[in-house]
Structures are given as structure tokens and as C-alpha cells.
């Protein structure tokens, strides 16, 4: 070991207590729980077999992926527009914009879900308003279905989409854009050929973040879905607490963990994850 290496090893030793603590009180118990998926009700891979044989298991995964993808797409679109607008405004305006993006983050997810119920239900503000103005003559089904869930989840996710994209857009040198214009590119061409590719790492990072969050949503679907849409998190809760089929619940939890780690692994090849999670570049 070189002197420099030994020096580094000394620094690593400093985090060993934290590592041990995490292993003993976090990682080990999680592995213990996940192990139930191959030990209950009988030892073996019977629970995982259900991934291929049980329509119910497949449906829950399908629903979760579908809602996750839709939410991610809409949140990215809205977030991109917002981030673009923020990145292009002056420093003072930027601060107000950021505040407006961050404030919803501090409101409890439960409160927000109930707020959406109040707005979207049959006799809610939106339907009443549309009825009064004569745009519709029957209340629209805006909540107690997947639409309601997506609305609630997108609302939750937009800030998470904005922040990584904004940080990546801020790093784009404005002179590059000016140069593109100077060389004869129009506004749209400048955006598509210069700005968009340069902001792509932020877009991908935001996509990963939002998608992974979406997979584990629990409260929003439970409150806005009218009981008719079951996503993975609530399904696991049902198996563990109510139906006492721990093996099956642990199997799905394992699948969720593996899916998230796999997404991260794939994406780590595309973007710099350390930057995504806040480490300096």
C-alpha cells in the first residue's frame, strides 16, 4: 500500500462506525425480512413463481409501472417547462420561482391528497365551476380513479423533477446559445440542437428520481383511487398486515427493491449519479 493509500484508508476507518450501525440496524433487518420471501410458507421459490403465474400479482406490477410511467412523463414535461422558465429568468425572479416550487414540498402528502379530493370530487370546486359556466352538464369523474391518482402524484413529483433539471440547466453557458443564434440558428433550432442536449443529463436524472419515487407511492393512490386501484406498496401492506401472507408480501418487497436498484444501476451508466444525489461534480 502506498503512503497515500494508507492515508485514505485512515479516512475510511472513520466511517466504519456508521457503516456498522447501518448494517446492524438497517441492512441486516431488511435482509431478514426479504429472506422471508424464500422461506414462507415453504422454503423455495414458490412466491417468485407467482410473478409468472398469478394474474393478480402481474396486474399489481402492471398498474404500478403504468402509473409510474405516466406520472414520470407528465411530471418531466411540466417540470422541464418550469425549470426552463426559471433558468431563463433573472436572479431575483429565480428566487421567487424556487420558493414557489419548494413550498409544496413542505406540505404533508396527506393534506395534499385531501385537498385534491375536495377540488376534484363530484361536488368539488372544479366540477361545480365547470357546471356553473356551462362547459359540462354532467360532473366529470376526476377522482376515485387512475386520473385522480395521476393528478395527485404529478403534483407531488413536479418539484422533484424541477430541481435536478434546473441545476443542469444553470450549468449551460448562455454564450453557447448566443453563439448558436449568431451562427444563424432560429430559436427552435437553438433549443433542439443546443439547449436540449445539454440539459439531457438533468432530464434523465429527474426521470430516474421521479420514477423511483412513483413506484413506492402509498398514501396518494390509497386516498385518490377510490379503492379501485392497487399499487405495489398498498398491496404489500395488505399481504403483510391483513392477509398474513408474509412470504408473498416479502417477495413483492424484494422485487421492488431489486427493480429500484436495477434502475439505478442502468442509469448510473448514463448519468453521473453522484451529481444527481448532490455530490459536487
Amino acid at each position: 500500500m502506498t503512503p497515500k493509500g494508507r492515508h485514505a484508508a485512515g479516512w475510511w476507518a472513520l466511517i466504519i462506525p456508521a457503516l456498522l450501525l447501518m448494517t446492524a440496524f438497517y441492512i441486516a433487518p431488511i435482509l431478514q425480512v426479504l429472506a422471508i420471501s424464500v422461506t414462507e410458507p415453504q422454503p423455495g421459490l414458490g412466491n417468485y413463481e407467482r410473478l409468472f403465474t398469478s394474474e393478480s400479482v402481474q396486474r399489481v406490477i402492471g398498474t404500478t409501472l403504468r402509473i409510474g410511467v405516466i406520472t414520470t412523463a407528465i411530471a418531466l414535461l411540466l417540470g422541464y417547462v418550469l425549470a426552463y422558465r426559471i433558468a431563463m429568468s433573472g436572479p431575483k425572479a429565480q428566487r421567487w420561482w424556487l420558493l414557489a416550487v419548494l413550498v409544496p414540498l413542505w406540505i404533508s402528502v396527506l393534506v395534499r391528497a385531501f385537498a385534491w379530493v375536495t377540488l376534484l370530487r363530484r361536488q368539488g370546486l372544479v366540477n361545480q365551476g365547470l357546471l356553473a359556466t356551462g362547459v359540462i352538464d354532467q360532473p366529470l369523474a376526476l377522482v376515485w380513479n387512475e386520473l385522480g391518482i395521476v393528478i395527485g402524484m404529478v403534483h407531488y413529483m413536479v418539484p422533484y423533477a424541477v430541481l435536478p433539471m434546473l441545476s443542469s440547466m444553470r450549468e449551460i453557458d448562455p454564450r453557447v446559445l448566443t453563439a448558436a443564434r449568431g451562427l444563424g440558428a432560429g430559436r427552435i433550432r437553438t433549443f433542439l440542437r443546443v439547449f436540449l442536449p445539454l440539459s439531457l443529463p438533468g432530464l434523465i436524472a429527474a426521470g430516474v428520481l421521479v420514477f423511483i419515487f412513483s413506484l413506492g407511492f402509498y398514501i396518494t393512490p390509497a386516498l385518490l383511487g377510490g379503492g379501485k386501484t392497487l399499487m405495489v406498496a398498498e398491496w404489500i401492506k395488505l399481504q403483510i398486515l391483513d392477509l398474513i401472507r408474509w412470504g408473498l408480501g416479502a417477495m413483492m418487497a424484494t422485487v421492488l427493491v431489486v427493480a429500484i436498484l436495477a434502475t439505478l444501476a442502468v442509469l448510473s451508466r448514463l448519468v453521473n449519479l453522484r451529481r444527481l444525489f448532490g455530490a459536487g461534480s
Binding site: E55, S56, R59, V60, T63, R121, R122, Q123, W144, I219, A222, L223, G226, G227, K228, T229, L230, E234, K237, L238, I240, L241, D242, L243, I244, R245, W246
Partner: protein, 371 residues
């Protein structure tokens, strides 16, 4: 997010207390009767040699006064005992976790008939010792099961918005399923229990011989109506769906139906006819520290009709003691599920049958609803 009946009771109690419809003492008395109030600062270890029994409930205004109600009668009759409360919420999964961990600290858990059977078959709860608990203290065998006994009762009834049906309201589950005659969104619990029983009655089977359910037909019947239905997971949700007109009729707990009927001045009504009468079953986790004394505590909960009546007056939970019904004041009889007049209209849910079929059927029901 599925909420159990007892969790919902606490929710209702808190609200009644806030609105001042019940005074604090009444609230405490009623919660005490339900076993929902923990002893203030329960001593963990029985240092002075007092033997402690732990009743596990579903939380709520739970940190004072229990000793005066449920505990006190038992403590008075059995010097040297202390009854403490714990509001962890003893779901079947948590009971399993505790028993399998090998360090059981719970004695008596507020559970359900079907969970009692499921847990019993997995050898996770103890049998009730009916030489100690008196079967004669309950109005029927449905309240004294092999693996649990019920000091209270509740019912899943048909409630409807009378403003939506000027030409006559629905009378039974067949009407509930009749979308031509009674158009509008239906409301059901996202659970197999009581929902499939109602479907079986809608199919025309004699309520007196309802069990075993024809599960395939019942599930098909549910599939028939799911597009026109919303589904609740907790009691307050069920109340909101009806109150706001989101649904025109629903199968909800009678405690919520009572509140709706009173607070909407009769716009929302409910009927006892074909309601599913259910037992509020308490179970004893296997290896509970109290041993035989846990059985004695359960026996005393069933044996005292007065606190059971207090509970009815406050929350609407029905007594199960046969001597309780005559003690109920006249204006509460309409809302007592085990009042003889109401009980004869209802069907007692078969907890044993459900215990054997619940896990599979609940999954099937969830699949249909979310399909």
C-alpha cells in the same frame, strides 16, 4: 389503508367529543367499556408484585382513565391485578410477528372473527377456555368462538340517500344490485367480508341458510356492479362518500350509518334488514403472559352488561350480553344491532366459515375491484 371497525370507533368518539355531543366522562366510560383506554403511565414491570394484564387496542384518545372503567371492576374483584392498555393496533400480521418473535407481551387483542380463525389455524392464538368465559354471557354462539370471544357487536347495513329515491327506497341487497330501478353509484367496503354475503342475498339465497356462500357466483355478482361502485377502506371515507352524494347507497358500518342519519336529519337513512351482524372478537396471543388470568379478564368483559350499554350509548357498538338489551334507553334501541327487534332482521355473519375462506376470497375481491 384498510381500517378496522375498532379504529373507526375511536375516530367517531373523538369527533363526538369535539362536538360536545358526548361529555368527557361519557367518552371515557364508553372507551373504557370497549377496552380502548390505557392506564395512565402503565408500569412496565410488575415491580410491586402486581400482576399486569395488557389489552391491545387500536389507539385514539387512549392515555387516561381506563383503570376506572374496564380495569377497575376486574381489579376490584381481583386484588393484586393491574389492567394496562396498549394501542399498537393488533392486526393479524402484528400478532403473528409477536408470537413468532417468542416474546409475547400482549394478553388480549381486539381482533375479528375471521382473523381469530386464521390465527387459530396457524396456532398463533390460544383457545378460549369456556370453563372460565361463560357462553351464557353472550346472546349467541357467534360471539363465543373457539379462538376468541366478543364483548361487543357491530353490523354492516344498507344505507341510502333518501333524496335520490322519491319513489321508494331500496329494501334489501337485491335492490342494491338493481341499477335499473335504483340508478346511481354504489358504495362497498374493499373487503370480502360482508360484501360477498350481501351478494349472496342479492342472488336470492335464503338469508336463514346463507352459508356456505357460493363464492363463484358471489364474486361474479360483485364483478357485475364494480364499474358502478366506489370502495371505502376506512369508516370516515364511507361516511364522506354518502354525505357528499358521491354514492347513492352503500354497505357501511351501522355506527357510521347512525351518525349519517342523525347529522343529515334523515336525508341518509339505513335499514337493519339483511344487515350483517358481526362479533367484535378479542383473541389471546399464544404464550400471553397473563395465562389463565387473561381468560378471566375476557370473561368479565362479557359478563358485565352495564359498560356494554354505556358503549352503545356513546358509539353505537352493540352489547353482546343477553341481559344488556333491556337496559338500553328507548331512544337508543333503534341503533342497537343486538336489540331483539333489529337482530331478527339481520343475518349473523358466520365467522368460522369466513375464517376458513377469508384469505383467498379477500384476494379475489381485491382482484375484481382493481381489475
Amino acid at each position: 389503508m384498510s381500517q378496522s371497525f375498532h379504529e373507526d370507533c375511536i375516530d367517531l368518539a373523538r369527533r363526538a367529543l369535539q362536538r360536545g355531543t358526548v361529555d368527557r366522562r361519557g367518552a371515557l366510560r364508553a372507551l373504557g367499556a370497549l377496552g380502548l383506554l390505557p392506564l395512565a403511565a402503565p408500569g412496565k414491570a410488575s415491580a410491586q408484585g402486581a400482576r399486569e394484564l395488557v389489552i391491545v387496542n387500536w389507539g385514539g384518545i387512549a392515555n387516561e382513565g381506563f383503570g376506572r372503567f374496564y380495569g377497575a371492576p376486574f381489579e376490584a374483584a381481583n386484588p393484586g391485578f393491574k389492567v394496562a392498555m396498549n394501542s399498537t393496533g393488533p392486526s393479524a400480521g402484528r400478532i403473528k410477528g409477536m408470537v413468532e418473535s417468542g416474546s409475547v407481551t400482549w394478553d388480549l387483542c381486539d381482533s375479528s372473527a375471521s382473523s381469530a380463525r386464521v390465527l387459530g389455524k396457524q396456532n398463533l392464538v390460544a383457545k378460549i377456555d369456556y370453563s372460565i368465559v361463560k357462553k351464557s354471557d353472550a346472546i349467541s354462539e357467534a360471539f363465543t368462538l373457539e379462538y376468541g370471544a366478543a364483548p361487543y357487536s357491530f353490523s354492516s347495513v344498507l344505507a341510502y340517500d333518501s333524496a335520490k329515491f322519491p319513489n321508494g327506497p331500496p329494501q334489501n341487497w337485491a335492490d342494491f344490485w338493481n341499477l335499473q330501478k335504483f340508478p346511481g353509484t354504489r358504495l362497498l367496503r374493499r373487503d370480502a367480508l360482508a360484501v360477498l354475503d350481501a351478494a349472496q342475498m342479492a342472488l336470492g339465497k335464503d338469508p336463514a341458510n346463507l352459508y356456505p356462500l357460493d363464492t363463484r357466483a358471489c364474486l361474479a355478482k360483485l364483478r357485475e356492479i364494480r364499474r358502478n361502485a366506489v370502495f371505502w377502506a376506512n369508516g370516515s371515507e364511507s361516511e364522506q362518500f354518502l354525505r357528499t352524494g358521491e354514492a347513492v347507497m352503500g354497505q357501511i358500518w351501522h355506527t357510521r350509518a347512525k351518525v349519517l342519519e342523525q347529522e343529515t336529519n334523515g336525508r341518509i337513512k339505513f335499514i337493519w334488514n339483511q344487515g350483517l351482524l358481526q362479533a367484535g372478537i378479542f383473541v389471546i396471543p399464544r404464550g400471553s403472559p397473563g395465562g389463565v388470568n387473561t381468560q378471566r379478564l375476557l370473561a368479565s368483559m362479557l359478563a358485565n352488561p352495564e359498560p356494554q350499554v354505556e358503549l352503545l350509548k356513546f358509539l353505537g357498538n352493540g352489547p353482546t350480553n343477553p341481559r344488556a338489551a333491556p337496559l338500553v334507553p328507548a331512544d337508543f334501541r333503534r341503533f342497537n344491532p343486538t336489540d331483539p327487534e333489529n337482530a331478527k332482521l339481520q343475518v349473523t355473519l358466520n365467522g368460522d366459515w369466513w375464517g376458513d375462506n377469508y384469505t383467498q376470497l379477500n384476494q379475489d375481491v381485491v382482484d375484481i375491484i382493481t381489475g
